[in-house]
Symmetry: D2
Subunit: 353 residues, 4 copies
C-alpha cells in the first residue's frame, strides 16, 4: 500500500507556495508512488483533521497561482489547549508516514518540535521578507519586490507632473530587504528601512537638495517597520530628546501608517506637496514571478526527496545555485537583516547632505 | 512667420495627456507649420509666463509616458488676484494665436471664459473618472480601471488562502464608474458606489450568504466617495435613524478611508477576518493603456485641427467611434453618473438576499 | 420545470468569451431560473451532442480567464454531411428552449439560418479584429492591441541600443485596426495595413529620412495581411510593373510572414540592421483587459435578456455607450475596415517624404 | 583634475545594462570625484572615438530602461585592421585612466587582452543566457525568463480553447537555462533544451499520453538551439540512422525556426492541431525586473570600486548573495550549461512514457 504523506502551509500566504505543493505532489506520486494528502489551514488542520486529497489533476492548473490551495492559518498547536495531542491523534488517524510543513519560523519550529517527539516532518522555509538566515533566498520575496517596483515606476510620472514628493510604504517589519531592493530598482530617491534609524531633519535636507538640484519631484520608499525620529523641544536641562515621529506632542500615537505620518511631516516642513501610498496586501497576491515559481518547484522536489530518503527533521535551503539540506532547528535562527555594505545604498541615489 | 500655438494641462494628472500633447505638436508643426509652445503648470503658467518649447524631438519619446511633461496645477486665474489680467498679458506677450487647454471642467471653464473675452482657446476634456457628460469616453479612465482590476485579480488568491474578506477602496468621489467597471472586471463579489446609498446590514447579509454558499472569501470594491450607513439605536419614539458609518457613537469622524472603516465594521459584525487596501495614486500613474493612448492621440489631432480651422470656443469629444466637436460651455454640464440599468450590476455577482 | 438554455462558442478564441458565458449563466440562473447547459466545441458540439452543465460554481472562477471554457471549433453544420439534421436532433433531444451562439460571422450566420428554420437562437458578436460592421466594438480587440502595444514598447530600447530597424508583424488579414491602434499607441514610426497598398520604395525613403533626422532606430508595425509591392524591372515597352514583395524574381512565394520578408528587403535596400518579430497567437491569449471583461459581461447579460424576452434571431451590439439589439442577418454585413480619415495615421508619426 | 573613466557596452543588449551604467556613473562622480565618459557602440566606439558625456543628470531617468543608452555593437578590435592601434590611440587621446567594459565573453576577452597590454580595464559580465561559468547569475536572464513565462501563461487558455498543442521557441543557442526555467515556471508540459538531444518519437508518445490522460492541450517549450532528431528509414543493413529534424528527406534544411519545424512534425505525426510561436527579440527588450536592476546596480557599484582601487584586469561576479571579484581571464571559461540534476526537470511535469 502506498505511503501517505501530508503537506501543510502555515503563516502568511506567499507567492510560490503552490509551486512547492505542485512539485512535491507530482514527484511524490509519479516517482515515489506516495499517496499525497493536503492538510488544510496549516497546523490548525492537523489538530482538527481538515484534509483534502492531492492528485496530479488538482495540482496541474495551479502552476501560476499565488496563495495556497491548502489555505493557511497562524495556529500553533503548542499554544492551544490539547493542541499537540490533537495534532498527534490526527497524524496517527490519517496514518501519515511523513509531513511537509511549508511556512515561516513559527510553522517550522512546530515542525521541529513535532519531529523531536518522533514524527516524520520536513520543512520548507517561507518568508516574503527574505529574512531567514538559513537560506540565501526564499520564494515570495521576488514577487513582492517586483510588485513594489512596478508601483514605484508608476508613481514617477504622476509625482513629476504635480511636482510632488511621493512616499510609498512597503512591507518589512524588522528587515528592510523589500524596501531596499524595490527602492533601488524603482528609482526611489530616499530609502528608509528598519535597520537604520532615520532622523526627519536629514530626510528634509535631502529633499531640499534634490529640488535645488533641479529635479522637481522625489520618491521616498519606507518600510512599515521603519523608525523615524525627530528632535524634541529642548529639555529643561538643555539636552535634546529624540522623539518617535508616530507620537504627537502629547505622546499620543498618530494614526495612519508610517508612510502617511512621514508624508504629513515632510509637507509641513518643506512646503512641498506630498502624498503617500500604502501598498499593503497587494505585495503578496497574484501570480508569482519566474524566480519564485522555479525556486518553489525546486524546494518542493527537494522536500519530497527528504521524505523519500527518511531525512526527517530537516528543511530545504538555497545556497548560491544549489538546493541544500539544513536542520529544522536552524529555522528560528537569527533574522537576516540588511548588512552594513548594503545599508549604504539607502541614501545612495540622492545628493549628499 | 509661423503662428504660435500654446498648450497647457490643468487639474489632476491622467494617463494619456502626453499622447494629446505629442499628437497636437506633431500635426501642428508638420502639417500646419505652427510654432508650438508648452505653458507649464496649467493656467498658473499662463499667469506667470512659464513656458517650454515643444519640438518634434522633445515629444518623440513620450509616446508611452503617463502624467504630463508640461506639469499641472489647479490654479484658476479667475480666482487669483489679477490672475486674468496676468494671463491676458502673457498670452499677448507670447504672441499666441491659439491655446489648447487640456483638463477637467475647471480648466475647461477657464478656457471658455477666456474665449468669451476674445482669446483663441480650444479644449480637450480630461477626467479619470469618466464622468464628463459631453463625451462618451475620456482618456485615463481605461488605464485606471485596468490598474484597479489587476489589483483585484491579485487579491483573490491571498483572500482565498486566508479565507478573508478583502475590501478595496478605489477612486471616485461622485461617480462610481471606476469601481463599477473594475469591480465587475476584477471579479468583486460586492460593489459599492456613490450613486447608491448602501446599508451595512445588507452588505453583511450578502457576505454571510456567500460564505454559506461555500465560497470561503469575498472581495468588496468600494468608491472613496461611497456613502455607507447603518441603523442607529432606536429613537425614543421608536423610529430608526440612519447613521453615517464614518462617524462613531459620539458623532466623531472615524479615521481612515471608507475602505478601512468598512473593513473594521465587517469584521466586527461577521467575525470574518477582513483587511482593506486603498489603491490611491497608483491608479493614475504609469504608462497609459492602448485605448487611452489612441484616444489621446485622436483628441490631440482634433484639437490642433480646431485651432487651424479657427473653431475656437470648442472642445473635442468622442461619440461612438467618432471624434466630434462640442462647445466649451458644455464642459461644465452635469456629471455623467452610473445610470440605473448599470447600477443593477453592483450586487449582481453575489447571491440575492 | 426550468427552461433549458444552451450556450456555445465558435471560431477563433478571443479574450472576453468567458465573461460572456459567466454573465449569461449567472443571470440565467439567478434571475430567470433557467437551467444553463454548455455546448462544447461550437456548432460541432451541437451536431455531436457534446455538453457540459453550467452552474454558478463552475463559472465563478473564470472572471479573469482568457479563451473559452466551452472549447471552440470552426465546424459549420451547413457544410457537413447531415450536419444540420444532427444539430436539430441534438437541440430537440436536449429539450433546449433557447441557444446563445457567441462567435464571428460564420458562427452567427449559422445561428441566423438555424433561427429561420424555427430554432430559438440569439447571437453575440466576436471578432478580435474589430471588423464587424454592426457593432462599434467587440471584445478581444482591446486585449490584442494592449499585448501588441506592450511588445512595441519593449522593442524600442533593444532597437535603439543596436540602432536597428525592427519590424513587428501583427494580426489582421483584411482589416488593419490592430496594427493601426497598437502601432500608434506603441510609438511605431511606420504602420502598414491591408487597406492601403504600400510600395517598398516609400518605406525605404521614410526610414532613411528618420535616420537622417537623427533618430538612430525605427519601429515598423505591419499587418499580416498587408500588401507590399515593389517596382519590377522595366518591361520591354518601358512600362513598370508592380510586383508582390512576397514573390521572388522567379514568381516563387518567399517563405516567412510579411514581417520577415519586409525586414529582409529593408536591410537589403538600406544597409540598416533589421530584425523582425511575429507576434502570432500571443495576441489572443491570456487574461482579458477590463474593457473586454466589462463589454463581454454586458453582452452576456443582454443575450440572456434576449432569450428571456423571446427576441430570437437577434444579436447584441454596442452603439456608443449603449447595448443595442441588431438582427442576426446583419452579422455578415460588410467588414468594417479602417476609414480614410484614420488611414492618414499610418504614416503620421514619421517625417514626410 | 578629475580622473577620467570610460564605460562601454558590447554584444547583444540585455535588460540591466543601464542599471550598471547608472550606478557606476553615480558612484564614480559622487563618491570618487571621477569624470565619467561613455564610449558608444562597444569597442567600435573606442576604435572610432565615439563618446558621450555621462553626468548624474543623464543617468537619473534611466533607472527603469531596458537596453543601453551607450549603444552596442559586436565589433572586436582584435579582428579589425588596425583595430587595436586605433583603440589604444583613442584611450590615450581621451586621457582615460580606467575603462569599464560590460559585455559577454567576447567583449570581456578584449578587455582582458587590452589589460595585458597595459590598459586599465575592468569588466562586468553580461549574458542573457545565464551561461557564464564565473558568476552564479548575470542580469538580463531574469527579465528574459519572466517575459517568456508570461507568454507561456498566456498561451494556456488559447491552447485549451482550441485543444491544441502549442510550441514556443525560446532563446538559448547552447544553454537551455531560459527554456528550462521559463518552461517550469510557465507550466510547459515538455521542455526541450540543447543539452539533451531529443527524439521526435518520444515527444509524440508523451503528447499522446497527456491527451489520453484527459488533458486536451499541451504546451511545449523549446530552445532555439535544441537538437531534435528522428529515426530515418532503415538502412540496407537493417540499422537505424538518426536524422536531424531540420533536414528533409533530401537533406535540405527546412525553413523556419526549430519551433515551427517541430510543430509541423507533431501535427503530422499526431493529428493534433499544433501551432508555434517564436518569441525572438521580445525576450530582451523593455524594463528589467527588480532582480536585474538590483544586480546590475550592485555590479556597477563594484566595478567602479575596482577602478578606484586600481584592481584592473578583474571582473565582478555574484557568488550566493555576495559580489566578488574574478580575474577577467575567467570570462571565457567554459559555458555553464544545465547540469544533470536539473536536466531531469525537462520532462518532469508530463506523464512517464
Amino acid at each position: 500500500m502506498a505511503k501517505k504523506i501530508g503537506i501543510l502551509t502555515g503563516g502568511g500566504d506567499c507567492p510560490g507556495l503552490n509551486s512547492v505543493i505542485r512539485a512535491a505532489v507530482w514527484k511524490g506520486i509519479e516517482e515515489y508512488g506516495f499517496e499525497m494528502v493536503g492538510i488544510r489551514r496549516g497546523w490548525k488542520g492537523l489538530t482538527e483533521n481538515l484534509t483534502t486529497p492531492l492528485t496530479l489533476d488538482n495540482v496541474t492548473s495551479i502552476w501560476n497561482q499565488g496563495g495556497t490551495i491548502l489555505n493557511t492559518s497562524r495556529t500553533n498547536p503548542y499554544k492551544e489547549e490539547n493542541g499537540v495531542e490533537k495534532a498527534k491523534d490526527t497524524y496517527k488517524k490519517l496514518k501519515l508516514e511523513g509531513l511537509i510543513a511549508i511556512g515561516g519560523d513559527d510553522t517550522l519550529m512546530v515542525a521541529y518540535n513535532f519531529f523531536k517527539e518522533g514524527f516524520n516532518t520536513v520543512g520548507v522555509p517561507k518568508t516574503i521578507d527574505n529574512d531567514v538566515a538559513a537560506t540565501d533566498y526564499t520564494f515570495g520575496f521576488d514577487t513582492a519586490i517586483n510588485i513594489a517596483m512596478e508601483t514605484l515606476d508608476r508613481l514617477h510620472t504622476t509625482a513629476a507632473s504635480h511636482e510632488r514628493v511621493m512616499v510609498v510604504e512597503l512591507m518589512g517589519r524588522h528587515a528592510g530587504w523589500i524596501t531596499l531592493e524595490a527602492g533601488i530598482a524603482g528609482g526611489a530617491d530616499i530609502i528608509i528601512i528598519p535597520e537604520t534609524p532615520f532622523e526627519i531633519d536629514n530626510i528634509v535636507k535631502r529633499l531640499k537638495k534634490i529640488r535645488e538640484g533641479g529635479k522637481n519631484y522625489a520618491i521616498v520608499a519606507v518600510s512599515e517597520g521603519a523608525k523615524i525620529s525627530t528632535v524634541e523641544d529642548e529639555d529643561e536641562d538643555g539636552s535634546f530628546v529624540l522623539k518617535d515621529l508616530k507620537k504627537d506632542a502629547f505622546g499620543h500615537v498618530k494614526l495612519g501608517g508610517i508612510g502617511k505620518v512621514l508624508a504629513d511631516e515632510i509637507e509641513d516642513r518643506t512646503g512641498y506637496e506630498t502624498r503617500s501610498v500604502q501598498l499593503g496586501h497587494i505585495q503578496r497576491g497574484g501570480p508569482p514571478t519566474a524566480f519564485d515559481r522555479f525556486l518553489g518547484t525546486r524546494f518542493g522536489l527537494a522536500a519530497i526527496d527528504l521524505v523519500a530518503e527518511g531525512k526527517f527533521g530537516n528543511m530545504t535551503a538555497l545556497k548560491g545555485n544549489q538546493i541544500v539540506t539544513v536542520s529544522l532547528e536552524k529555522a528560528a535562527e537569527k533574522t537576516r537583516t540588511v548588512p552594513d555594505n548594503l545599508k549604504a545604498l539607502t541614501g545612495f541615489f540622492s545628493p549628499k547632505i
